[in-house]
Every structure is written in C-alpha cells, then in structure tokens.
C-alpha cells in the first residue's frame, strides 16, 4: 500500500523538503507527497531522482522541479521562471500558468501546462515533450534542438528562432516566425504524434487542425556568403 506524506512549508524549510524528496538519506524514495503553503518559494521539488508523486498545493516560484528524473510533480497553481528546466525524465504538470523559460534545456520527460506559458518556453530544449493548453510568449522554442512542443493556443513573436530539430505544433495564430523557422507540411505521422501528446496531457483539441513548424536548416553552418552580415 502506498504512503501519502504531507509537508507544510510554513513549518519546514525548502532544503529539508528537497532532501526528503531526493531520498538523500541513502534510501530510495517512494510514495506520494503533498506540499502545503508553497507561497511562491523557489526550487521546490528540484533534483528528484525516484519515481515518486509530488503535489504542490499552490503557486511555485523559480525552477520548480528542475533537473527532474522519473518523478511526477504537479503544481496545483502557477509556476515561476524555469519550471522543469533541464528535466531528464518523468512528468511535470502545471495546472495554472507558467512564467518564462518553461522546460528550458530539458532532455526528456513530459511538461504539461494547463494555462499559458510566457516568453521563451522550451528555449534550447533537447528532447523534452511540452504541451501547453493555452498560449506561449515571444521567443518560444529559441534554439530548440530536439523534442516536441504542442501549443493549443497562439504563439508570440519570433517563434522557433534559430531552431534546430525540435518539432513545433501550434493550433492558433503565430505572431511571427523567428530566423530559420518555417511552416512545414503535416502528414498522418504528425497528426498521430499530436494526438498521442494531447491524450497524455489530457487536453481535448482537433489534432488535424494544428500547423507544423520546423527548421529551414539554413543557419546550421557558417556560410562564406553571409560573412558580411557578421
């Protein structure tokens, strides 16, 4: 039978919470944890390595669930800058909005944002899957290298700027595309990919109505013809 433990951050410092969740006493951590009174504190549930379940009841501050491996972290509120930054695996779910740089530089796992994500969502992503129920801010997908980003709302200016090989899908309007980002054709594989991600995120949307964006692959290598631009 699984255990469920409650931690009140008005009584316990964040460092002690994270040591507990990280299993720093040498034992593998298991079970479920309810974190109360987060009050926008930083680095909540960062650096987790075991497949535990953590629910943060309220708004989280910067870098929540950063570097996550295997754990399933839910923020029942909004998340500050850099939620799930550098995530390796596992799942991070934000019920409300996420501030800038959500999922930054993350290698794997699934990040789900119920509301909007602001600027630079998925910046330099390296394999993470991100599903945003609302809209994303400017410079989203900047230098995104691998992984997949699905946006059910609109995308802000300079979407996918200096993009590498991440796959980007948007249901709504894109304010403007960044350098070297272009719209690409959709085929059945892409629709299936979106359906799979929407299903795992628990969002209802018409997968066939999304548009796909990717790299034009013109900025990968230095071209002598462009020397004058530097």
């Amino acid at each position: 039978m699984s255990t469920r433990e409650e931690i009140d951050l008005d009584a316990v410092p964040v460092r002690r919470l994270n040591r507990l969740l990280q299993g720093r006493d040498g034992t593998r951590q298991a079970g479920s944890f309810d974190v109360r009174n987060p009050r926008g504190r930083h680095a909540l549930a960062a650096g987790l390595v075991d497949p535990i379940d953590v629910v943060i009841h309220g708004h989280a501050g910067y870098y929540c669930a950063g570097m996550n491996q295997q754990a399933r972290v839910t923020v029942a509120g909004n998340a500050g800058t850099g939620v799930a930054e550098n995530m390796m695996s596992g799942e991070v779910r934000v019920h409300g909005d996420a501030s800038q740089s959500a999922g930054a530089a993350a290698w794997g796992g699934l990040l789900t944002i119920g509301g909007d994500a602001s600027a630079r969502c998925g910046i330099s992503m390296k394999g993470i899957e991100i599903v945003v129920g609302g809209s994303v801010g400017h410079m989203t997908g900047f230098m995104a290298q691998a992984g997949c980003l699905v946006v059910c709302g609109d995308a802000g200016a300079a979407f996918g700027d200096s993009l590498y090989e991440a796959e980007l899908y948007v249901l709504g309007k894109v304010e403007s595309l960044g350098a070297d980002c272009v719209e690409k054709d959709m085929d059945d594989r892409h629709v299936a990919r979106i359906e799979d991600l929407l299903g795992r995120a628990g969002f209802a949307a018409d997968a066939g109505a999304f548009r796909r964006y990717g790299s034009a692959r013109q900025l990968y290598h230095f071209r002598i013809d462009n020397a004058a631009a530097y």
């Binding site: 926008g40 500050g80 501030s99 800038q100 600027a119 801010g137 400017h138």
Partner: protein, 298 residues
Amino acid sequence: MCGIVGLYLKNPDLRNRLGSLFAPMLTEMTERGPDSAGLAVYRDQAPAGRVRVTVRAPGVDWHATGERASAELGTPVTVTPMATHAVLEAAVSGEALRDWAEAGDPPLRVTSSGTTLEIYKEIGLPAAVLERFGVPQMSGTHMIGHTRMATESAVTTEGAHPFNTGDDLCLVHNGSLSNHHRLRDWLRDHQGLRFQTENDSEVAAGYLTWRLMQGATIAEALEAGLRDLDGFYTFAVGTRDGFSVLRDPIACKPAVMAETDDWVAMASEFRALARLPSVDDAVVWEPRPGQVYSWGRA
C-alpha cells in the same frame, strides 16, 4: 537584480493596514536587493492650497529648520520629522518650497514634492529601512517600493529608489538602461531638467517628467518610453490616484500581478504577494511585455 512591489487598496476598510500589508512584501524582496530600500506612500492629501515636500537631511535640527523656513518663506511651514527625513507643508508653490529646501545651509535633499506623495529611502537591509520609517504603522491608499542591488551606480541613499518624477509621481525600476548618459545630457542641456545622481533609473524618471511636462498622460509617457528608453526594465510608477506598470518588450525582468475585490498588487515575484489577504482567491497573472497597465480611482 532589484525587487519592486506595489500595493493599491480598493477597499477603504483596509487603508489603516496599508503599511502592515506592504512591509512584508518589501522584506520578501530582500534577496533581490539587500543594499538599500525605499518606498513611496500616498496617505492623504495636504489641505487645499498647501503643498507637501519630503526632504532628507541626517542630523538636522528639524524644529529649527521649521522656524527658519517659516521666517524666510513668510508663511507657517509645518515640519513632521521621520528619522532622517521630514515632511514639510506650507501654503506656497511646490517650486518655492523645493527651491528653499535645496538652497538652505545645510541643503535639504528633496525626495518628493506634490500634495500627497511622501518618499523615504535609505541604505541598508529592507527590514531595517522599513522599521526606521515606521512603515508598518502607516495608513493610506497605496504604496510602491524598491529593494536595490546596485549595478549601474554607487550604493548611496541618492541612488536608492523611488525617484520623484514630477508632482505626486514616482518611479521604481528593476533593470538597467543603456542610453541613459546621452538621454541625461539631452534632458539637462536642452530641456532644463535637474539630476541628483549618475543613476540610470533617475534618467527614466526625468524622461517621464519631461513627457508629462509636454502634456502627455502617464500612460502616453510610458508608451513613448518604449521607443526612447533602451535597456531592460520593469517600471512601477506611482500616481496620486494609483499606479502603473510597464515591462520592456524583451521582458527579461520579471513581474507578477494579482487582484481581488479589495486590492491590486504587483511584485517582481509572486512570493512577495503570497501573504496578502485572500491571495488564494486572487486573479494572478504575468503582465505582457510592452503593455501599460494602470490602476486607481477612475
């Protein structure tokens, strides 16, 4: 870095708690700015025909200052000391009272002028600055404040925020400007503005003052600032009736806002708002880049 906060009370029943609600907000931003702190408070308006000026002069005999002011200006000047600062009120023009303060021996450094605004600022940890000025006991309609981590100029009281930007207007800034030297020169040499420091934020305040002198509203002045101010910024601007917020279009500097039926608040981070009453029921959002937000009495 730097931290900024603002609180406007919509519910008059909360107004005697303004300072006690505001002080923890500013203290929570200590890690963003531990070297100095300051605040602007809008408590009540001076009686009709009177102006209000806040001055700073550590070690001054305020009683003697009041007597000298009354004698030299030829009208009674009330002086209300508050630690290193004092509030002067008199039935003269704001310019006359300001000029008198700055021309004195020793000169009094004017931190604010108008009919309602008071500005207090000092070097030190925010909690110590708040205690020194008795902020938890203050009442009023709204306050904005700043915790400073100096990047562009020296750690001095003069470099602390808020900066007065014309009658009853003030500015706090998180960020750094990159065209403030030329803009300061232009405002000083061609528009006659006076500057007290080498601080970049004071130039932003001077710029807004100049735009307002040209007849712009505060929203118009901020929108013009989007074109003319180069750099990173989140601004909060206090006015007699409320406050406005603007982030630069790149929006590297954070801001979060929250609103209930009783109050409107902004801060660099949500944690500064986390202990306001009924915050769990507040609408919380991140202000969009390049968009002016304003609150206050309509």
